[in-house]
Amino acid sequence: MTALLATENLTIRFGGLTAVDGFNLAIQPGDLFGLIGPNGAGKTTVFNMITGVYLPSEGTVHFDGRLVNGLQPAQVAALGVSRTFQNIRLFDELSVLENAMTGAHQHAKINLFDSLLRTARHYREEQRQRDRAYELLRFMGLEDRAGLPAKQLPYGHRRKLEIARALATEPKLICLDEPAAGMNTGEKAELSALIRKIRDELKVTVLLIEHDMKLVMGICEKIQVLDYGKTIALGTPQEIQNNPKVIEAYLGGE
């Protein structure tokens, strides 16, 4: 079986600093994959290279059998990769519904004149985006907030809206960057269930960066551990928990 997402020898240097060094990753369709590591290990940098935000200094990223490096973020999104951000990046002045609708923008098959002249195609497209957005807001439990400006959402809901927006792009793979950060225990449990539903019901492969070990160990089937830009372990939650290198990276080695 070919991997949905595969990186090979992925490396990036900022000035003299090698932030990610020879990183290999293979995610199969249908995986719920965890990427963990101490702060500053380079996890978000990996996301940035996968989604076209950063150009790797060396190595390759393949998605669905296609070479991704060198593509613009929007082109990567069109292939079916979406993501959320560690520091939430919503469109604050748009409503919750409109935020989710922007995710569906990339599949619009109309041009500006359709919208300026309000053709039937325009209305069909608006309906499609609205339906899609509502569906995902319902899925994330946000439908009763649809009309609110995004900036008025409480923190936990902002994280969820980011996921809804990312899902609206109809991705094959969604990369979640610390979705549970700042959530309380109850919200985290709810989020765990949602992430599982994303994979099981929406059939979207999930790549998850998370600091909350309980959450990661509880839902991921495969986990890869990154430290100082290098992979130090790969395996099931069971294997990772008992790996001495991982324990050292998290506890010692100050």
């Binding site: 900022f14 978000t44 940035n48 935000v53 950063y54 951000f85």
Partner: protein, 315 residues
């Protein structure tokens, strides 16, 4: 075509234009320093800088007029040397004060606002000063007093005005002094620290507000010198005389690499020479477009300028 065939004449014409360009460019450089320092610290295009330049020229005009050296009359008696010295120092001090005041009143309240708001405010201050200038000085052009008698100095194939030499020498002395100040003194080090990272500078115990005020004051004093120098060469003052100068000096700062004082000097000189060559060999009205073409090309090809550093966005 005839010109091109006549090589010796062509070469001397080129040389003459280079000399004119050096003169123009020194002033661009002097004014550019103010833009580059402020941009380095606040990431703000201080549009009002060009009007401080205009004020500098007027501030050196009035003392001579009040003391009876009748600059706007036909006879125009020569003003004494000590008065010129006083005019320079007085205008520099007054402009330094005004520059710092503009920062204090208009820009400081907006330090944490969007850069767009700050930019629009800067444009507003510029328009304000131009029109207050018009109210205070009148819209009709004023003739700058006779501080020096213009003459030309023959340097082989070309001749250069004594005011041109004065401009080049004074401009470069000022910039060298400023560069030394920024590199060697404690205050200069504080300015560099603020330009590098204002938050950290504050944590290190640097008085950021005072440092920014000094930055504006120094830049404005340089602009005042620029204004006086230009007025000595072309003794015609108007409240809008800063507009084009400001745009060109800013282009010079961008060309040299914004934030860098040697960059501003280099950018100013290159721009001045390029303008003179286009004006002298082609058409003077096209010379006015040179700086804007240079600007757009630099921004597209190397936005960090010749001597600047590139930054990157953190995700």
């Amino acid at each position: 075509m005839q010109i091109l065939l006549d090589n010796a004449d062509f070469a001397s014409r080129m040389l003459q234009q280079v000399a004119n360009g050096l003169t123009k460019g020194s002033v661009y450089a002097l004014v550019a320093v103010g833009y580059t320092m402020v941009y380095g610290v606040l990431a703000l295009i201080n549009f009002a800088h060009s009007d401080v330049y205009m004020l500098g020229a007027y501030f050196a005009y009035y003392p001579a007029r009040w003391l009876g050296y009748m600059p706007d009359t036909a006879e125009k008696p020569k003003a004494p040397f000590w008065l010129m010295g006083m005019a320079f120092l007085g205008a520099m001090a007054a402009c330094a004060f005004i520059g710092a005041l503009i920062e204090r009143l208009a820009y400081r309240p907006l330090r944490n606002a969007s850069r767009l708001a700050a930019l629009i405010t800067a444009i507003g201050v510029s328009i304000f000063l131009q029109n207050v200038g018009q109210m205070a000085f009148g819209a009709d052009p004023k003739s700058f007093p006779r501080y020096v008698d213009q003459s030309s100095v023959n340097l082989g194939v070309i001749s250069v005005g004594n005011t041109s030499i004065l401009i080049i020498v004074v401009a470069f002395l000022m910039m060298a002094a400023l560069h030394l100040f920024v590199q060697k003194t404690r205050t200069g080090a504080a300015m560099r620290a603020c330009a590098h990272d204002m938050k950290t500078a504050r944590l290190m115990g640097i008085n950021v507000d005072a440092t920014i005020s000094i930055t504006f004051a120094l830049g404005s004093a340089m602009a005042a010198v620029g204004g006086i120098l230009v007025a000595m060469d072309q003794p015609r003052l108007t409240p809008t005389m800063g507009l084009l100068m400001g745009l060109k000096a800013f282009v010079a700062a961008v060309l040299g690499g914004i934030g860098s004082i040697p960059g501003a000097a280099l950018g100013g000189i290159l721009l001045g020479v390029a303008e003179s060559l286009v004006g002298g060999l082609w058409d003077t009205t096209y010379a006015e477009a040179v700086s804007f073409v240079v600007l757009i090309v630099v921004l597209l090809v190397k936005p960090s300028g010749l001597l600047g550093r590139a930054g990157r966005e953190k995700v």
